[in-house]
Symmetry: C2
Subunit: 232 residues, 2 copies
């Protein structure tokens, strides 16, 4: 193991990477968890994650993506660092540091994939309290949830919970499920126009009444931020 001259005086903490993957399942904000096959916390539900492979991971982002792919088959369109959690108490094996990521994915994009993987399952945010998660993963999920909620107040983040093509009503639903509050259709439309992130698809879909316009992300656009929040 590589240890520099200056660090050899100290034990290094064990470093891992975890990911909180969000999606919307049956109108409920949900996270994807895996059933731990090994001690500690064997048999408990936990965030998908693991250790950096210094030979193949160009950086920790790659580790997060690789672990998500290996353990759940999912390749999310949005992935971002959340924060690091550390301490001597969070892992019974000793002092540890985990770097947590959060990611969003459209449920329909993974519902096929996920069948190929054993013991990975979506859990609604509300159902987690009864689940007794491994390590401090409950706490990490709470932090990730807060971040996603905050960011959803001033950006179009929730689009990443949708399919490639989506309607305004679907985006409105995703935002409302995430922030836990209803918003005005009109306000959302104003933001869609102002953001210039989306393009109109030459197709409409049935929805019980008038046909709904489909939208999709423009090629290569970044998530843009607005100067004001949806009110809380």
């Amino acid at each position: 193991m590589q240890v520099s001259q200056t660090s050899s005086l100290f034990k290094q903490p064990l470093f891992s990477v975890d990911a909180v993957l969000f999606s919307i399942v049956d109108n409920q904000l949900s996270v994807l968890l895996v059933d731990r096959a090994i001690v500690p916390y064997k048999g408990c539900w936990a965030l998908p994650g693991g250790y950096v492979n210094v030979d193949i991971d160009s950086c920790t982002d790659s580790t997060a993506r690789r672990k998500l792919k290996e353990k759940t088959g999912v390749e999310p369109p949005y992935l971002e660092q959340l924060q690091s959690f550390s301490g001597v108490d969070r892992d019974p094996r000793g002092y540890s540091v985990t770097l947590a990521y959060y990611a969003l994915v459209g449920y329909q994009l993974v519902s096929s994939n996920i069948d190929t993987v054993e013991d990975a399952q979506w859990w609604s945010i509300d159902s987690l309290v009864e689940l007794n998660l491994a390590f401090d993963h409950q706490f990490i999920i709470e932090k990730a949830l807060y971040r996603v909620q905050q960011k959803s107040l001033y950006s179009m983040l929730p689009v990443y919970c949708l399919a490639k093509q989506f309607t305004i009503a679907q985006l409105k639903m995703a935002i409302e499920v995430i922030i836990g509050k209803s918003i005005q259709r009109k306000s959302l439309i104003r933001r869609i126009e102002a953001s210039d992130m989306f393009e109109i698809v030459d197709e409409k879909i049935a929805s019980g009444g008038r046909l709904a316009q489909l939208y999709q992300l423009r090629n290569g656009v970044d998530l843009i931020s607005f100067e004001r929040n949806f009110s809380r």
Copy 2:
């Protein structure tokens, strides 16, 4: 070194903690750097940082605070995780992960302290490009600067660059120096009143004209966020 069964297959990356400490020196946003005494990058200016001591650091926040204290004598009133930076190229000794923090402190609070420490010095943000910093520290500082600027648009973060007691004009100056744009006195006063973060000190100080009211942080208040930004 503690290595779990599951991780023993892999080399662990070298994990360190660094801090970007901001203050305002002569009306310039500045960061505190230390002169590296050891290889690699010996003699280069670098962020104060180091390795976790698992025996005394309760978490990485403690590591960041401890390293700041040891290397520069500073105990900042505001410290927050920025993000982690990783990769095989950022440190010639091999694959490394650093967890970067950013912090703010009033210059007058440290200008005495700093004399006790060798080779720690304030550098204005603008002067950094000519400095050839160690590792990817220039990049980390840019990210930290962006975060501080963003956060200063919707919170009172810049107060942590001031002395315990301060005037509205001083706070206005701090905000303007950080975000790089002038703001309206009136807008700031509205935010001060709305935030309820501050209390009036029973004292005023001279400033060339009418005496200026002194303010200070209320006991135990948190940094609050506004729903709207100062415009960019």
